[in-house]
């Protein structure tokens, strides 16, 4: 038989000003199962809490309803108080008669009656509460960092420096990411590679970091503290332990006309290649799609010239499995290709390029050795038009967001152009200039004032080729919408930053939520900016939304701090309000019938199959099983399960049903 204690708080006058607390306490004392019902001025004060504790002992209470403010405010307070008095904290519930009653209604009988109804509802609920114990999960103190750009590098080094193991997974043959492709960086115009490459080398050398390049995440299961990460090491056709990175193979490779990914198609590479001279690791891979041996079955020039016999043509993809306590996503971004812009030439005009391609043109190590020459004929463009917001802030292109970095890099591009082609004229079509970082606005002013970049506020409607020129038709909104036509030699589109290729599949593998643009979603836009909604998986950098380098590095260090914080504990404590598949004695075992639709429903992949076996090991039936380490307690499966075989602790069927009934029936 239930013995429930009801404790009505006046909250000074916050409640008692509109609710007749004495009456509520008196009526509640007559509810079936209520052993004691009292009211008090401040229930959350020490004397108030003592009232609860003493009543628990004196009346041997089996449940407590504190009728006061929102449970979001003081539920932990009173649950702790109950625990101190020896009552399981999960046998305490709060009836919210302040935020949901006294503060929102006028003084009167209806308000008091509502408070009574709320208390009765919670009394009926708490009668059906069960004593629960928190869940503890051990932690594997290794972090897997996915992506080896500047974000991944920073995070990996921070975590490794704190003394934890890091496994870095990069899908390209080298780490470095987009930052290694950049010429100079805004607003200081210092050389990108000069600041990045030492950090790349640090990663390779760090004793706590294991680096896998040319590798991808195959699968992830498990949960915070205990992920099991399977990594696919794509075959490099090379024994890295034997290779010295001398480069003889690259020089002799007969296939030399493959558009280089690193050079954004503006330069060429060989079939056996390192993406760029400062690559880490500086050992080549064979691109099997383009290698003559793999296509035609003969060649093997690289094998012949290799002084250490490191080439392995028959090498296959291999797998490693890593037990990790945390995952850190730093997979970066990509830019929209010019082919997304039919109005600007549909990718058919060679001299319409994107910003990343311009970076390579401007880079001293790039295909033109840093000279600005147009891709079609190698001429130096005399008039160059930069179009900002190409795709960004454009719902018609499906991207309403601001890519954030283009204003700055377009200003930088125009400046770099002007520095290299003194007689040339750079134009920038823009919507707004967003230069909100430290020294950013000053940088843009320099572009306008010192380098005489012609900023035109307006959109470009069309670019088409006529008589060897690119006709850029736009509008100048500062001249009352006057149409503008520029006969340009080259056009650079500051195309929108987009989610990296494969980010959706990766998010699905990791069960991380992502927005409609396939950028990974943070758990809370303000307060949990580097966490994902999946506990134990963190975010850094442009995989979340396009970011510039300082922001990316800051986010990476933030995420690293979260990982290190997690690793500072040996065990993880979790609330036990999770779903369970109900079991019953033989011969039924469980009413679960194994349709496994709950597996489809679960947002956390917390449900798997469980075989029920007899003593001889024969399978009697296969039912659903909920992993308590993964279940977050949303209860979607509970409402979905047709046979009501799944229930959720803390909000179980019996409790919520009783609440509905009690709320409506006196």
């Amino acid at each position: 038989m239930a013995r429930i204690g009801v404790f009505i708080c006046h909250c000074g006058e916050n409640i008692s000003a509109t609710v007749d607390c004495e009456k509520v306490a008196k009526v509640a004392s007559e509810f079936p199962g209520v052993a004691v019902s009292v009211d008090y001025k401040y229930m959350c004060s020490d004397p108030g809490q003592n009232l609860v504790k003493e009543a628990i002992i004196e009346h041997k209470l089996t449940g407590v309803v504190v009728s006061a403010c929102s449970p979001r405010m003081h539920e932990p307070t009173f649950r702790n108080a109950c625990a101190e008095a020896g009552l399981n904290p999960f046998l305490c519930e709060m009836a919210n008669i302040r935020e949901h009653c006294s503060w929102v209604h006028e003084k009167g009988d209806a308000t008091t009656q509502k408070a009574i109804d709320i208390v009765r509802t919670l009394v009926e609920k708490v009668k059906r509460n069960e004593a629960l114990a928190p869940i503890y999960v051990p932690i594997s103190k290794t972090a897997v960092v996915i992506g080896g750009g500047v974000a991944g590098i920073q995070a990996a080094l921070d975590i490794a420096d704190a003394g934890h193991k890091v496994v870095m997974v990069e899908r390209e043959p080298s780490i470095g990411g987009h930052m290694s492709q950049l010429s100079e960086t805004f607003p200081t115009l210092d050389c990108s590679q000069c600041i990045l490459t030492p950090r790349m080398v640090d990663v390779a050398r760090h004793p706590n970091i294991t680096l896998y390049t040319y590798a991808e995440i195959e699968s992830v299961d498990g949960s915070i503290g205990n992920f099991n990460v399977k990594i696919r090491l794509k075959s490099k056709s090379l024994d890295e332990k034997v290779c010295t990175g001398c480069g003889a193979c690259i020089q002799k490779c007969p296939v030399k006309k493959i558009p280089s990914e690193f050079e954004q198609g503006l330069g060429m590479r060989t079939a056996i290649y390192v993406p760029f001279p400062q690559a880490v690791p500086n050992k080549p891979v064979i691109d099997r799609k383009n290698c003559t041996y793999y296509i035609k079955g003969k060649c093997k020039v690289c094998e012949i010239v290799c002084p250490t016999k490191a080439i392995r043509f028959d090498q296959e993809d291999s797998f490693v499995e890593v037990q990790a306590g945390a995952l850190l996503l730093a997979t970066g971004f990509d830019v929209l290709k010019t082919s997304a812009f039919p109005e600007y030439g549909y990718g058919k005009y060679k001299d319409v390029i994107d910003g990343l391609q311009f970076e390579r043109l401007a880079s001293a190590s790039g295909p033109t050795k840093g000279e600005i020459r147009r891709p079609s004929d190698g001429q130096i463009p005399k008039k160059i038009v930069f179009i900002a917001c190409a795709g960004s802030r454009d719902p018609a292109k499906g991207r309403e967001y601001c890519s954030k970095i283009c204003c700055m890099y377009t200003a930088k591009h125009a400046m770099l152009y002007k520095h290299k082609v003194h007689e040339g004229t750079p134009y920038i079509f823009y919507m707004d200039i967003r230069a909100t970082g430290k020294m950013y606005e000053e940088f843009v002013r320099r572009a306008i004032e010192e380098d005489e970049v012609k900023y035109i506020r307006g959109r470009v409607s069309q670019v088409y080729e006529k008589n060897g020129k690119l006709i850029v038709r736009g509008v100048d909104t500062l001249l009352m919408g006057q149409p503008v036509e520029i006969e340009a030699d080259m056009v650079v589109l500051a195309t929108a930053g987009i989610a990296n290729q494969g980010s959706e599949e990766l998010a699905q593998k990791l069960h991380v939520s992502y927005d409609k643009h396939k950028f990974f979603s943070e758990a809370h836009p303000k307060l949990k900016p580097v966490e994902t909604n999946t506990a134990g998986i963190f975010l850094a950098g442009a995989c979340q939304s396009t970011k510039d380098i300082p922001e990316t590095v800051a986010a990476a260090s933030g995420a690293a701090a979260k990982v290190v914080g997690l690793f500072s504990n040996d065990m993880l404590k979790r609330d036990p309000l999770i779903a369970i598949v109900k079991k019953s004695p033989p011969p039924v075992y469980s009413s679960c019938t194994g349709c496994f639709m709950c597996i489809q429903v679960c947002p956390y992949q917390a449900i798997d199959k469980e075989e029920i076996k007899d003593r001889n090991g024969n399978i009697i039936k296969t039912i659903s099983h909920i992993n308590p380490g993964l279940c977050q307690g949303c209860g979607t499966c509970v409402a979905f399960c047709k046979s009501k075989s799944i229930d959720i602790l803390g909000y179980n069927h019996d409790q919520v049903y009783a609440e509905v009934s009690a709320l409506l029936n006196e």
Partner: protein, 267 residues
Amino acid sequence: MNNIQQKTKELLESGACTLIIGYEKGTGGKARPVFVRKAEHAAKLIFDESCDQNIAGYLYRQEIKNESKKAIVANNHTLKSIVELASENQIHEGDFMVLAFTAEGEIIELKSFEEIEKHVATLYHGLNDEDKATMQKIEAMTMEERWGFWENEFSKCIKCYACRASCPMCYCPTCTVEINQPQWIPVPSHTLGNLEWHVMRAMHLAGRCITCGQCAKSCPLDLPIHLLTYKVALDSEQYFDSVAGTSVCANNVLATFKTEDHENFIR
């Protein structure tokens, strides 16, 4: 007609099958399910328009599950249910043989779920004209008329659960109506409880009802309860493009979602 008897006789004689689940002529000439184990009894089997009962539910019956070599004579409803049951993990490929009929009445063996899916794809999936007309009639009623219509129907229900027993998709060994903590569905058969039962039954069939109408055919009181599950099936198709019994690997309509799902009813 004879080709079914011939085919099953061969199967039983050769030992390829030890049990045929099919139809025979019953009381007053109505067709009913039959279980044939001997070749000499194959002559009992019939297949004609009267064999419209959905018999897929027998496939997961414990007594029948244990039979190793069995075949089912499947009409179109049964085929769709087999696909749906397979997608819900209740029956498994290779556990039974499926004998079906082409549009010309030729008996064929469908050797895999994939073949069943392909065959099902050629079948008509909509409602029959009579049901269509009744649906339209009900939908054209005012809200009060609809309530009156269903209140009258539900008042007649005696809670014999023939609808549940005859629906191949009602395979839960413990049905929600058998749960008494809490008592989701009242045991006595008052209109209120009957309404709750029929609403729940229809909801449970969302995205799963293959619109065979077996529930209504089985109802001793002739309640048109199949319209409730049809409504849910039609909505699943209209709003979420989900048609039950068409794909073995389909996810249930309520177990999935699209971020752009219809929501103009939400404030």
